[in-house]
């Protein structure tokens, strides 16, 4: 029977019936697992018997969360990791090597950009930056050493939306995997498999964790890419077929980098998944109302939200994201000083980093997340000193607007 999104999120598909009949997967906070005999443990290590042996590799509570993510995305499989950044670094390590390149954009989360520029560049990986909304740039940047095209499906904090049908066509023609960070939408709004994304990455810390309860990440192989075409995974594809990426991660990179998600955090994230659809709907509806309010305020110089008809990405976002536009927006005042005064006057909205919490959060990216970059680079990334990022929560929207309105009056 084909169950629908909310049913799958709530019930999952338990691998085994719990010995006590628990209707919720328990937290298996155990490092090791016992085997009945030596042959069983040998077969488990050979991959001939399904069993958990050590929680840095697999764990029943984590597996339950992974199963739910696989069901919700319709992919080949899902691998839960310790954070969204662990998800990105594991995928890059699996697909690329020294001397190769990835085609991406400067419009990325600040830590992702730092991973490419500061952590991986000295190891010989080149990141080629293009404008993902200009397809000719993407096509021109790809060469025989390109190992992936990487982007965020709504960029943070620029809130640009790329055309996935067009990008996947380019990547497909060049036989290069299209890897997308879909944190801002989750599988509830964006079915990456349908839009021909090959690998989906999610920081489950955000919407999925159910209100910033825990840090985590997920890697999903959508099943769209034939890994025999990947120079790094061709040999793995011969041995492990369609499981080449996920099995290479599990048996090598994820294992060797210690990127595991804890059982406790997996429990919290499964719990969060059960109400994901309700929270995403509410935060998107609230974000739309807040964006429309801000657009009418004289002190606000610019509002950026893909859900506004004034956004150049409105039509594309509506087509790709199930009629919703995410819970994050940005707006500009006339100066950094005004932004600071405005933020300091807020009483309900929290001054904090993170997005897609249940609570509304505001931050000045220029002086925080992107503070390590020179002014010229921040400008190239569209991170202006006049810009604030607001992650709209699921409070009563009238209270959010009243808080913004009072802060605006306080600095008038």
């Amino acid at each position: 029977m084909n169950r629908r999104f909310s049913t799958l999120a709530i019930h999952g598909d338990p691998i085994k019936k719990d010995v006590h009949g628990s209707i919720r997967m328990p937290v298996y906070d155990s490092v090791g697992f016992e085997f009945a005999n030596s042959k069983d443990i040998q077969q488990s290590f050979e991959g001939r018997k399904p069993a958990h042996s050590y929680s840095r590799i697999t764990n029943p509570t984590v597996e339950d969360f992974e199963t739910r993510m696989r069901l919700l995305t319709g992919g080949t499989g899902a691998l839960a990791v310790s954070s969204g950044m662990a998800a990105i670094s594991n995928v890059v390590l699996a697909l690329a090597e020294s001397g190769s390149n990835i085609v991406t954009t400067r419009h990325l989360f600040g830590n992702t950009l730092a991973l490419f520029e500061k952590t991986l560049k000295p190891w010989g990986l080149e990141a080629r930056y293009v404008d993902m909304t200009r397809l000719e740039q993407v096509e021109a940047a790809v060469d025989k050493n390109t190992r992936m095209v990487f982007l965020e499906n709504i960029t943070n904090p620029q809130l640009e939306v790329a055309d996935f049908s067009a990008l996947s066509q380019i990547a497909g023609q060049k036989q290069i995997p299209l890897v997308a960070d879909c944190t801002m939408t989750t599988p509830y709004l964006f079915l990456s498999r349908k839009f021909r994304v090959d690998v989906e990455i999610i920081s489950s810390t955000k919407y999925i964790s159910g209100g910033a309860t825990s840090v985590g990440g997920v890697i999903i192989d959508t099943g769209n890419f034939d890994w025999k075409q990947s120079p790094k995974l061709a040999e793995a594809a011969r041995k492990m077929g369609p499981m080449a990426l996920l099995a290479t991660l599990r048996k090598e990179i994820y294992r060797n980098t210690g990127a595991c998600l804890s059982a406790h955090n997996a429990y919290l994230q499964s719990l969060g998944l059960e109400t994901l659809f309700l929270r995403v709907d509410k935060s998107c509806d609230n974000a739309m109302r807040v964006a429309q309010y801000l657009e009418k305020q004289p002190a606000v110089k610019r509002v950026t939200y893909p859900g506004l008809e004034s956004s150049p990405f409105f039509q594309l976002a509506r087509e790709q994201f199930n009629g919703k536009f995410g819970g994050v927006l940005t707006f500009d005042l006339d100066s950094q000083e005004s932004c600071f005064q405005f933020m300091d006057a807020l009483q309900l909205i929290k001054r904090a980093t993170n997005i897609n919490d249940n609570k509304s959060l505001i931050i000045h990216p220029h002086s925080t997340i992107f503070c390590e970059y020179p002014e010229s680079e921040r400008e190239a990334m569209g991170v202006r000193s006049t810009l604030m990022r607001l992650s709209v929560g699921i409070e009563d929207v009238d209270d959010i607007i009243e808080d913004l309105h009072a802060a605006g009056e306080a600095i008038a």
């Binding site: 399904p50 697999t58 597996e63 077929g241």
Partner: protein, 70 residues
């Protein structure tokens, strides 16, 4: 008919044994979570019911534990 499953010889009296039959005989709870190799070739999960084994075939049931997709 003799078939080698995960390195062990198994005998079947039936004339036709599908991959799904083999998985059931070996008490695999969720066949959709197993990756199967038949004589070193991967078998598409959609065809477990329609692909049949022959005498002396080598079959591997593999569990990559890769995200709910064992």
């Amino acid at each position: 008919m003799e078939v080698v499953v995960n390195g062990e010889k198994q005998n079947y009296s039936e004339d036709k044994v599908s991959i799904l039959n083999l998985l059931q005989q070996n008490e695999v709870d969720k066949p959709e979570l197993v990756t199967v190799q038949l004589n070193e070739e991967f078998v598409d999960k959609e065809t477990y019911e329609s692909v049949f084994v022959a005498h002396q075939d080598q079959v591997e049931f593999l569990y990559f534990m890769a995200g709910g997709s064992r």
